[in-house]
Amino acid sequence: MKGEKQATGDQQPKITLAPKVNDFSLTICTVNGSGSTTANNTLYRALFRMGIPVSGKNIFPSNIKGLPTWFAIRISKDGYLARVAHDDIIVAMNPKTFAEDLDYCVPGGVVFYADHINLPVQREDIITYPMPIKELIKKADVPRNLRDYMANMLYVGIVSQMLGICMESIQQVLRFQFISKPSVADSNYETVLIGAKWAKANLEKKDRYSVATMPALKDHIMADGNTAGALGALYGGVEFCGWYPITPATSMVESMMFFAPQLRKDPKTDKETYVIEQAEDELAAIGMVCGAGWAGLRSMTSTSGPGLSLMTEYLGLAYYAEIPVVVWDVQRVGPSTGLPTRTGQGDLTMSYFLGHGDTDHIILIPGSVNECFEFGWQAFDFAERFQTPILILSDLDLGMNQWMTKRFIYPDKPIDRGKVLWEEDLERLKGEWGRYQDVDGDGIPYRTLMGNKDPRAAYFARGTGHDEYGKYSENPQIWKAMLDRIKRKFETARSILPNPVLRKKNGAKIGLIAMGSTDPAVFEAQDLLVQAGLATDYLRIRAIPFSDEVKHFILAHECNYVLELNRDGQLHQILTLNYQELSGKMISLSISDGMPMTAAWVQTQVMEKENK
């Protein structure tokens, strides 16, 4: 269920193994709907508060209650935050997956388990700590409906005691999480203390794992990409959001609904400066968004693969009628309904070619939570500057999981509303204008907005063939000129969109090319490869159309491995299409199993190809 299994060795646990401080992974195995989220959040937040770099990944089923779910926490003093395939520590609360969960534990690893799981531990190379969860609950005499929550807080206490997680941090985190209900925070904390006290009195520390306070991570925060994208949009001046619920994109608009009232009420009148409207489906969501974008509102939606499929026709119209809109695709795994709660990067070629006929699309690919914020506001500037849909490809891992990330940075550029003509502009031009005239030679025309009172302002927007004034036309020369002019916008965009990010290693002749949420895995792999004697340079692509730097990077390396989370190597396909003459210099390394990429996978794949 969770990817590659750990090969069980026959070695006995070596208590003498070197201690591992602030460098291990811990997975909590529970049943979904049991309320473990609060407990798991408490753990990673307490670790973050201790100054330890941490990431938290929720691996969950497409279900509301009763199916297995895992929460994987990576703790890394060196700041490596990618998923690891194997667990150093397992907290086993779900009898149904107990046997399988044990398989993922590394030799010398640790299993905390609820002692009512009456199943044999088949491995002798791991250390086990049974936890008398039911007995402790019984003693505490809590109401039946709170027992699951209490069980979760008990493992927080026991695990924290055994690893040395600071109790004061836990208390502070609980007060933060229950900011408006201090009594709930206190009762949860009491439960944590019961667990910790029991562990202190009854368990003997036999394993090698522990945590220790590090210097505070002052310039960092913990957040998920969907919250960041929503905040980015709110700081980008979003005025209209039409949306339809779909995992894993839903939480972006829900975050927006949460933060908008505090951020986006007009300071003068206390009235709203935004509209968030839940549509009847994705067809309507994108219709609303296109209408609003056309009429001059900063307009967006967030969706996932199946929703983007439904939105395709309107986005084709927006491309040709030149309407600014922002569309987030928080990718899950396709084709079809696929794996709705797992992650992937399989919508890239779809986004690239989106729509019938000839199209081009600007695609932004954030690789961190912080970039979700940054691209969240920038996307509106790009959309209005280039008068075209901006697609932002995030994914479930980036969007829904908890990441340590740099603090959000306030927009460093003023809002750019693009080329809009209001009444006074038309007066100055004496009405001499055509909606689709390329006056400036950059392919970008001027537009007027609904509500403009000048009698010369109006035009009729359409998806049918039109001339420079928006009038219906089937003339072959006009059609060709219009489509060629639109293409020029994307040439203009090439040098303005976010540049790729380069990370060089001394003497590297091999290039690694990746995008989006695989960044932590590739970053870590680059270091692992150096340790294995192979220096690589790493280029992370952040936007399409590609900047010239991409070509220069490919040219400068003997061989470039293109790493991505899909079956067919979609980024590799698009790079090959763009740089056919360099196709011999690129090799595709791709995987689609629904799980975030690991550094070990990157390392193994590259080493294999390099025959090392």
């Binding site: 957040a223 905040l231 986006r264 003068k268 309507a284 209408g291 001059g296 000048d454 009698p455």
Partner: protein, 347 residues
């Protein structure tokens, strides 16, 4: 020198002539019912003294949806996708809530792919006019059955229609519409008065207009034809629209012969009683008359239902008064201090 005085061009109270409301020449078939409707929209706007820049037009796909080019060329317009005019209009109309939206659709556009959006725009009571130019046939693809085609209708290449038709007025009513009317494009005066009332109505105003297709569905024994319409139209009342300024001067009417419905902007719809009593503020009455009409093949026309005070989508959003698309940039970007506070709260 004897200069001829310039011909006086007649203007309305807004100082505009009929020419200011015109569009491009129509490319629909001569005699198409849609052309009459375009012309009545133009006249209604002229007589209401609306400035064309205060109006925005929307449409979907089909013959009906081409028609917004043929009136009000000084108004902004957007020809969207098949069946998805309502969502497009919804998004756009939030940009400036002082602008009147007129959506033009057809039976192919509304009763099939657009059925969901039709129902949902009504459910939201989005302030806009929603005109369906209903001819029971797909014209632009040359004569296939639409979902409003009557059962048993025979078309040249299609054979006989086996399905029961969808009644769009009834569908609007059961979706909670605040304004439902039916008319016949051959009844120009009624079309015009209904359009005026619809424009003044605050909410979604649905007008299902039987608008014959002279090329593909105009056989005289069929429901969507001119001949059938002229012979069988049964108006529920004689409707006249009285604008606000004149409405305040209205005298008393003779008890029992007329009904007045006051609209949101103070204008009044006067419904003069014909053979039977009909109260368009009574939803049960409305449902019953539509059922009876269907059973008896009556083409009832007029204002079928109206609730002028039903809350609209705009009421569910507490928006700034100024048009959203004219907000200054400093009113849509929160300050830097607020972001620092958010950063501090995130862990």
């Amino acid at each position: 020198m004897n200069e001829k005085p310039a011909a006086q061009v007649e203007v309305n109270a807004a100082g505009l002539s009929r020419g200011d409301y015109q569009g491009e020449p129509s490319t629909l078939c001569p005699g198409c019912g849609h052309n009459t409707i375009s012309s009545q929209i133009l006249t209604a706007c002229y007589e209401l003294n609306l400035i064309p820049e205060q109006i925005v037009k929307f449409s979907g796909i089909g013959c009906s949806s081409k028609s917004p080019t043929y009136f009000l060329k000084r108004s902004f317009g957007f020809n969207g996708l098949h069946g998805r005019m309502p969502s497009l209009a919804l998004g756009a109309l939030f940009a400036d809530r002082t602008i009147k939206g007129i959506g033009i659709s057809g039976d192919g556009d509304t009763a099939s792919i657009g059925f969901g959006q039709f129902k949902h725009i009504i459910r939201r009571n989005m302030p806009m006019v929603y005109i369906i130019e209903n001819n029971g046939v797909y014209g632009l693809t040359k004569g296939q059955f639409s979902a409003t085609a009557e059962k048993g209708l025979e078309l040249k290449h299609q054979g006989r229609n086996p399905y029961i038709p969808i009644d769009l007025a009834k569908e609007a009513l059961i979706s909670g519409a605040s304004f439902v009317a039916r008319s016949f494009s051959g009844d120009a005066k009624q079309v015009r008065e209904l359009i005026k009332a619809a424009i003044s109505h605050y909410g979604t105003a649905v007008i299902d207009i039987i608008s014959p297709c002279v090329t593909f569905n105009n056989r005289e024994d069929t429901l969507h034809s001119y001949v059938w319409g002229r012979q069988h139209e049964a108006p529920l009342h004689d409707i006249s629209y009285v604008p606000y300024r004149k409405a305040i001067l209205l005298g008393e009417f003779e008890e029992g012969t007329t009904q007045e419905v006051k609209l949101h902007d103070g204008s009044v719809v006067i419904l003069k009683k014909l053979e039977t009593d009909y109260d368009p503020t009574d939803k049960w009455h409305a449902l019953r008359i539509l059922e009876e009409a269907e059973m008896n093949r009556w083409l009832i026309t007029g204002l079928i239902y109206i609730n002028p005070t039903q809350p609209t989508l705009f009421d569910f959003h507490d928006l700034v008064d100024q048009p959203l698309n004219r907000l200054e940039v400093d009113r849509i970007r929160p300050d830097a201090e607020s972001l620092e506070k958010l950063n501090d709260s995130m862990y």
